[in-house]
Structures are given as C-alpha cells and as structure tokens.
Amino acid sequence: MGRTLAEKVYDAHVVRRVEGEPDLLYIDLHLVHEVTSPQAFDGLRMTGRKVRRPDLTIATEDHNVPTLNIDQPIADPVSRTQVETLRKNASEFGVRLHPMGDRGQGIVHVIGPQLGLTQPGMTVVCGDSHTSTHGAFGALAHGIGTSEVEHVLATQTLPQIKPKMMAVTVDGRLPAGVTAKDLILAIIAEIGTGGGQGHIIEYRGEAIRGLSMEGRMTVCNMSIEAGARAGLIAPDETTFAYLKGRDHAPQGAEWDKAVEYWKTLKTDDDAVFDKEVVIDASTLAPFVTWGTNPGQGAPLSAVVPTPEDFTDPAERQAAERALEYMGLEAGTPLREVKVDTVFVGSCTNGRIEDLRAVAEVLKGRKVADGLRALIVPGSVKVKIQAEEEGLHEVFTAAGAEWREAGCSMCLAMNPDKLVAGERSASTSNRNFEGRQGKGGRTHLVSPAVAAATAVKGRLAAPADL
C-alpha cells in the first residue's frame, strides 16, 4: 500500500521501532524561544545533561520583546528576566541566539524559513503550537511542551505514536480577493476546532498548489486551530524556488541531490487517509471570526449567528457565551461591527507578502479617525525588506504605526495589548478570551481585510472601499 507524504517523512526519521512502545523519532531542527525553554534548561542543569546537538538548535527572542524603544532594556522586569534567562542558557549550552536588535531576530516561525533552515522532509519542533507553520515546506513540524523541549535538547529525539492521516483537499481556484487566511479560517469553521485532533493534515488540491510559500505558511500555521498538531503541503517548484540561495539551503551538488529527494515527497496515489474533507475554493469569500474560538467564523457578508442556529448543545452554549463576551447581538451584519484596533503581524501573517497586501490597500488612504493600527513585521529581515520597498512610508502616511519585530499583540506578552472591551481586527491566529489583553475582543481576519477595516473603522474587505 502507498504512503502519505507525512508517513514518508515520519518513517524516514524513526531511530527505533519496537512493538508496544512509541517510535523514537529523530528531530532535524529544534527552534527555541524565551517562554517555554527556561524550565527545560533548568532540567538539564539539575540532571547534569548537555544539549546533544546545539548545531541543530536555534533560539530567538520573540514573545516578550517590545516593539518600541528596543535599544533600551525591557521595562517589564519579569519579561526582562525571562529574556535574560534565555541569553544565559544559550551561552551556557552553546546554542545560537538571535537577541533583540540582532538582524536575525524575529518570530521563531518566521526566521526558520527565512534562513532556509526549514526544508522539505525534515522534522521540526518548537515549544510553540504554531510550529505547524513549517509544514508549508513538506516538513513534519509540530509544537511541544516544556518536558519535550528538555527531551529534544537532551536527546535530539522524541517518543511518538504515529498520528492518523487526514486530507483536506481544496479543489478549484480561490476567487479574486480571497486569500490563504480566508481559506484556513473557512476550513477551521468547516471541520471545527477538534476536527483534526489526533491527525496530521495534508493540504492538497489546486487551490493549495496555487498558493505562494507565504500563503502556504499561513494555512499550515493554523492547523493547530483545527486541532491538528501538524499540517503539511507537498513540496514543489514553488518551494524549491523559495529555498534556493537562502543562507542554510544546500548548495551546488548537494542542492541537486536534495531536490531529487524532495521531489519524492508526495503522497502515493494509492495511499489511504483516515479522514478526508473536500472544499470547493470557488465558493469561498473573505472570512472573519465572530466568537472566541477560531472555529466560530463566517463570511464577512454574513450576520452574527443566533445561538439557536446550532443544534449541538455544547456549541450552542459556547456561542451564547462567545456573543456575550464579544459584546455582539445576533443578527448584526458583520460589516457593521465597529473596530477600535487593527493588528497586522504574527507568525500567521507577519511576512513580506502580508505587508505588501496591507500596503496595497492603505496606499493613498487614511486609517479611520480614532482607530489604532499597529503593523508589526514578523522579523527584522521582513522589516528591512519592507522599508527597502517603501511599505513603511505607505503605512505611516495612512496613519498606522510601524513597529519593531516580534509576536506583539498576537498574545499580548509585551506592552502591545487591548484594554477591556476594546475590539480588534487581527491577522493573528487566536480569538480566545483575553488573548490580546484582558477583556479584549478579537476578530481574526486576513491582512487585506485588516487593512480595509482600518480604513472603514468597521469590518470590511478591500472591495468595500
């Protein structure tokens, strides 16, 4: 029987397989950041263990870093201690670190691909659930907890029970004005936040093949919001073109050998998936969330749903609670929902293509009166590239704030936060209660919708301007 892409990558990394035990899987790349690593390094110290492969490990500062005045020490002493702890650990254990202010610094899931460290067929882990992002390259990539961070540091392996396989096939082409973010939000609304639990999702079909690498990263990034720890896409010419010439991509004869192998990384015709979902891309439209989990979304043209619309009692109760938290009335057209803050950034949508999409909408327009628009590049390199292209001038001329790189308002561990009751349209990945600041209300949107919303002051698509 044929194998799926994920099975091929998985099988190629089995160090040890014994009946009745989990497989021991080798990890090709371990990404580290300041939040989920301090207790893991402590564990190594307590047991006298070393980092087995510092040369397969890379660290960056992202979750806590401020996006203003980064030449100053971090004002919040607790954040500062956490960042300083990472610096101390990286130096003690010999791990390469890109600290605040460094040209290589940025969100962990933006810098890996940008450096060419994320390649097809690899296994990638990080103490962060959005590690699924790297699946865009045909890598098997998933988030882990701190115990597993310590395990990978010490052994460069992870005990794994082979997950089930799920196919999400997106046939046809996305209509004009519909982006990768709209697509993944629609997929999550369709299969639910638990739809991918226990599975690796392979995204396939014409609409997926038509996406750029940035778009593919956006889709794979939110696999975890559909319950799947990992999501991936078969590598193709788009992938190879993105990788070629990057700092850590293979070169010369090694490049040719690698590409030859990468071309074998696709699901066999006779492979069987445990679960399959088919979506028709041509039916999709700009999509936004109205609730407090990423599955609670609807097309922008829809109205806020009524809890009675849901037949499942748990879903109905969740909808009631979400509407109350979000301060929304059932039946209100989503286009009438007024927004206070627009956030563009995060590992979901903080890449150059996302910033270009925002600039295209904001060019020659102004941010609505009283609305705060925050544009946070995913990495220092993204920032530099955006400035070379003059995008920052478009943003500031429109009245948006152009900030330094980091996770920022995606999870509000730095000073960029919503206040209670404040409503955002955000290109990030989670609309959980309080995610962007205690009492804050989040609508997840694409970069294009975020930009149009910033201009209108209400949820809007570029076509509404």
Partner: protein
C-alpha cells in the same frame, strides 16, 4: 514524577467546551522562569467571577476536573498542566482534548481521561447534585467509577505503564543513545546546521 495507579477524589464540574490553555493559564503567567507558583494563575481571569465554579467552597479540595469537549486546545504551554497539578488536580476528564495538552499531561503525570460526552455529563451532574460525590479513576483497570456508574477509557499500554511507574521519558530514551548515534551517521549531508 509521582506514580499513578488508582485515585479517588471529589470532582469539579466545568461545563464549558473549548477551554483553551489561554484560559487555563493566561499568558501573563508564562513570564515566570520557575516551575512552581502556577496554582495562583489557574483560570485566574475566570476566578475573578465569584460565581465561577472553582470559587464555590463546596468544591475546595477536589482533585478531578470534569470538563466539556476540546479541553486544553490552543497554545502548547505546559504551564497549563503545572497550574492544574499545583492547584491540586490529578485527573482531567473530558470528551475530547487538545493533542498537545494531552501529551504534556502524560509527561507530567496529570491523567487525561477521555469519556463519552454523555458519561461526562452524568459525572458533572453527580458532582453538581452532591459536591461530596467521590469518583475513582483506576488507571490499572482503565476504568472510572462513580456510584453505579462504571466507564472504561482508552490509554495506550506504554503511556499507562510509564504513568504507573512514574518514569520520565528522557532517562528511558537515553538507554538507546547508541541507536541515536547510528541514526545520526545516516543523515544526508545536505541537511542544515545552525552553527
């Protein structure tokens, strides 16, 4: 970690679905670099509401959390597991769990038990009617018992053994260091290094 064989305790009924790890432990608590002190952060925003179930003195000292579907979705923060354990929970029962949370729980010895939604509701109702109701979670028999109710649950043999023995994974994996070394010798030369 502490061994888990059979645990009997009182239960807290948490009638909510999609309890994500941002609710279990809000991000502000993740800035700590220690492994202790997370009990205060457990559901810290929800606990500001006096009517939240954990604030009901009738449930003080309960050690089993019985929650709705998709408990522990979202962020990979293991701090969620530490917070639940440090508050006093040894078991979470729910119809479905977020994969990463569930995995993190088994690494730390917090037992995640998956039961049918109907049975979970029965357990919640029992704990609501009488907060002194005791539930027994028997890992050896893979069974949950409460009064007349007996429900079996699935957990793979290996994880069950590891939890019952209280073994941590790293020590077990390092027994196979030779296998890791020989695997490393076979890795293709084009694979990237960070240094």
């Amino acid at each position: 970690m502490e061994k888990f064989t059979v645990h009997t305790g009182r239960a807290v009924p948490l009638r909510r679905s999609n309890v994500d790890t941002d609710q279990i432990i809000p991000a502000v608590w993740l800035k700590m670099v220690s492994r202790t002190g997370f009990d205060e952060g457990l559901f810290s925003v929800w606990r500001e509401d006096p009517s939240f179930v954990l604030n009901d003195p009738a449930y003080a000292g309960a050690s089993i959390l019985v929650a709705g579907p998709d408990f522990g979705t979202g962020s990979s923060r293991e701090h969620a597991v530490w917070a639940l354990q440090q508050y006093g929970f040894r078991v979470v029962i729910a119809p479905r769990f977020g994969d990463i949370f569930r995995n993190n729980s088994t690494k730390m010895g917090l037992l995640p038990v998956i039961l049918d939604e109907k049975i979970v509701e029965e357990l919640q109702a029992a704990a609501e009617q009488d907060p002194t109701t005791e539930i027994t979670v028997d890992l050896e028999a893979r069974e949950v018992r409460c009064g007349e109710l007996v429900a079996s649950f699935d957990l793979d043999d290996y994880t069950r053994w590891r939890l019952m023995e209280g073994l941590d994974d790293i020590g077990l994996t390092l027994r196979h260091a030779d296998d890791i070394t020989s695997f490393e010798a076979s890795r293709p030369a084009w694979l990237p290094v960070t240094q």
